[in-house]
């Protein structure tokens, strides 16, 4: 690029890397929820983005309330929990009313959840209006700190990344260290056997699905720190998130994390050196090409077919 000095290039990589990381956060939180729902249950949830919007709207609403009562500085932590809760609850209901009838028909779930996403978008529009709304961010999330003269790192990015790390850790512990996780994994691997040994598979499905939606809600809370929320906010991320999950290998959570990292960094760096649309096109093209060569994704385990 036209005449950056070495030290500038160095800071570019530092800051771009960081900007990639903050893109990573939202993407990863979205994809993590999807990976649980799609990877573990085989359900294609096209309304996943709308669950993120639910989280975002919850945060925005809470910020309004918080401002009114003057505890604007701390509401955000509470909002994250609330976003999770609301999205979890809606997810639970959706599983109950819709998803559970469609487990055997993945393509049909795709269409049905797309319909659901239309309904949810219109519901947002009717409830919150067509205009984009944004949350008032607490002071401590604003601004940036400068480790060196040329490097600026936004604080909200750091916070969101921390949040992402915590959620990831939580999911890992839940799935691989808890009794519940054991039930989830047992159910996804062999439904009939799991039922036979006394696991309430329907309940497990419901909680797993709701958990995925809840994590999308947390993604929504994180999203409010970087942009405003509108009825169609969720649809911005849905395709990207699916790419992350598929690229990482649907069954592997570690794969999801690594692929989110790779995609976010690639996109961020490419967008610096190309324009934003070409950066995105190139990233997506590379992913599609790799997927055509390696359909099972990057980190899928070889299984006996």
């Amino acid at each position: 690029m036209d005449g950056y000095t070495t030290s500038e290039l160095w800071s570019i990589f530092a800051m771009q890397g960081f900007s990639g990381l903050s893109l990573l956060s939202v993407l990863l939180l979205m994809a993590l929820g999807l990976a649980i729902i799609f990877g573990q249950m085989g359900v294609i949830n096209m309304a996943h983005g709308e669950f993120m919007a639910i989280g975002a709207y919850t945060t925005v609403m809470l910020s309004k309330v918080a401002l009114e009562y003057g505890f604007g500085n701390y509401y955000f932590l509470f909002a994250i929990v609330a976003s999770f809760g609301v999205a979890f609850l809606v997810g639970y209901l959706v599983e109950l009313g819709l998803i559970q009838h469609l487990y055997k028909r993945p393509l049909d779930t795709l269409l049905a959840t797309w319909g659901l996403s239309l309904i949810m978008q219109q519901a947002f529009r009717s409830t919150f209006g067509a205009k984009e709304v944004s949350a008032e961010l607490p002071e401590w999330l604003m601004g940036s700190f400068k480790p060196t003269e040329t490097v600026d790192i936004p604080i909200n990015g750091v916070f969101v990344m921390g949040l992402t790390a915590v959620v990831c850790l939580g999911v890992f512990i839940f799935l691989f260290r808890s009794r519940w996780g054991l039930r989830v994994r047992a159910t996804t691997q062999n439904r009939v056997m799991a039922g036979a040994v006394g696991i309430n598979t329907k309940k497990v499905d419901r909680v797993t699905f709701a958990l995925g939606c809840g994590i999308a809600g947390v993604a929504g809370a994180a999203f409010t720190t970087i942009a405003s929320t509108g009825p169609t906010t969720g649809s911005l991320y849905i395709v990207d998130s699916f790419m992350v999950v598929v690229f990482g290998g649907a069954a592997s959570l570690m794969g999801t994390v690594l692929s989110a990292f790779g995609i976010a960094q690639a996109q961020s760096i490419l967008q610096f050196f190309m324009d934003s649309s070409m950066g995105k096109v190139v990233t997506l093209l590379v992913i599609v090409t790799i997927l055509m060569l390696r359909p099972e994704g990057l980190f899928a385990a070889k299984v006996r077919r």
Binding site: M15, Q16, S19, K131, S134, L137, S228, F272, S276, S277
Partner: protein, 414 residues
């Protein structure tokens, strides 16, 4: 160009308003009988002895509804006011409103419907360039008349369209001149959404900066419509340290853009920014606190201090609620019905050809932006104002140019 004394002009024109308003009421009290339908309507338009049909064609639904609602409201207000004054040539205006639904073929369809089925005498409508481009062939084919309110990229001129917003040069040149002089700016960073209007605007801005101001464009960047990730752009801006960021980011991206700037610690204390895409309507979504101290170049701000505007804002709020805000495009939409009325009265006919022929030279002195006049090229003579945003979502007007001649095909800028 800048030869008028602004203060003097404003005094004179405010005196004029009263007179013209009174006069127009007098003129309008003429009976429809003076203008027999057979004479004022030789092209089978939907004009009766007492009414005339006019179409309003905007998106009431879909993604563009947020932006276009203001225009619908302004047009309806103008029409209501005209009707209250006795209508046009003694005929009341009846509105047929169609919804373009943010979908370009729908716009074309509905325009066709308005012209072919409803035979409306004029259409107030469209907002995005894409919708206008879709409607244009229909309007030309059916020989209709469209009043188009949005500031846009220019490069277009149609017999059948009156452009009541600014074409690109009217919005850009004077603003850049002012900021360069005021801030001593030499380096500019251009950023816009990726479509024809920002691209054309930036092209003109770049030529002006490089050739006229002898400044330097240190970066030019376009983000996909709806994109919400500005990390890369902000990093580039940090490295380039431009004197001025010149921005034309639209829609949802706009909010993300300002929010991320603020989060990154870039604000008006450390950085000058001039945008051409933020009006009072956008500020509602972005939030005044994210914008405070940045500049917008527009022909109109709600805070304009003149009698025309005060009356207009009062009426607007009376009709559409006290919380309404009025942005640049909304005001331009308000001009449409008034300009059409004046042209029809000058022509003494609703026939499109005659109205078009009468249009150049039509003045509207009661305009909230104070004074406009239709140029031979169907665009308006208008001023440029620079507003500095306050945290309450209103702008302080810090600069006002003289009347600028519209020039949709600027030589030397292509």
């Amino acid at each position: 160009m800048y030869i008028f004394n602004r203060n003097k002009l404003s005094k004179i024109s405010s005196v004029f308003i009263g007179i013209t308003m009174a006069a127009s009421v007098m003129v309008n009290s003429v009976m429809a009988a003076d203008y027999p339908t057979a004479k004022v309507n030789t092209t089978k338009l939907n004009v009766t002895d007492t009414t005339v049909k006019v179409g309003i064609l905007h998106s009431a639904t879909g993604t563009m509804a947020i932006s276009e609602t203001g225009s619908i409201q302004a047009e309806k207000l103008a029409i209501a006011q005209i009707n209250a004054m006795g209508g046009i040539l003694g005929r009341k205006i009846e509105v047929i409103q169609e919804d373009g639904a943010s979908d370009w073929p729908t716009f074309a369809e509905k325009a066709r419907k308005l012209l072919v089925k409803d035979r409306v005498a004029a259409i107030m409508g469209c907002w995005t360039s894409a919708s206008r481009k879709a409607v244009l062939p229909v309007v030309e084919k059916e020989n209709g008349l469209l009043y188009y309110p949005t500031f846009y990229e220019g490069l277009e001129q149609s017999k059948n369209v009156i452009y009541t917003g600014q074409e690109a040069t009217q919005q850009i040149l004077a603003g850049i001149d002012w900021i360069a002089k005021e801030k001593g700016a030499k380096t500019f960073y251009l950023i816009g959404s990726d479509y024809i209007w920002p691209r054309t605007s930036m092209k003109i801005a770049r030529k002006h900066i490089e050739n006229v101001l002898k400044g330097k464009v240190v970066g030019e960047e376009y983000v996909a419509l709806g994109d919400t990730q500005f990390g890369s752009v902000i990093n580039k801006i940090r490295l380039k340290k431009p004197d001025v960021i010149y921005a034309a980011v639209v829609g949802g991206s706009n909010v993300a853009w300002f929010k991320q700037l603020k989060a990154a610690g870039i604000n008006s204390k450390t950085q000058t920014m001039l945008t051409i895409s933020v009006t009072e309507d956008e500020v509602l979504g972005i939030g005044g606190e994210n914008l405070e101290g940045f500049y917008s170049a527009m022909k109109y701000f709600q805070s304009l201090d003149n009698a025309n505007n005060k009356a207009f804002i009062a009426e607007f709020k009376k009709m559409w609620g006290p919380k309404s805000v009025v942005g640049d495009v909304t005001q331009a939409a308000y001009l449409g019905p008034w300009l059409w009325k004046a042209a029809v009265e000058k022509a003494g006919s609703f026939d499109v050809d005659k109205v078009v022929a009468a249009s150049p030279g039509i003045e509207f002195k009661a305009a909230p932006e104070r004074y406009v006049k239709i140029h031979n090229n169907h665009h308006l003579w208008s001023k440029l104002r620079v507003g500095k945003w306050r945290s309450d979502g209103q702008a302080d007007v810090v600069y006002e140019s003289a009347l600028i001649e519209p020039n949709p095909f600027p030589k030397g800028y292509q």
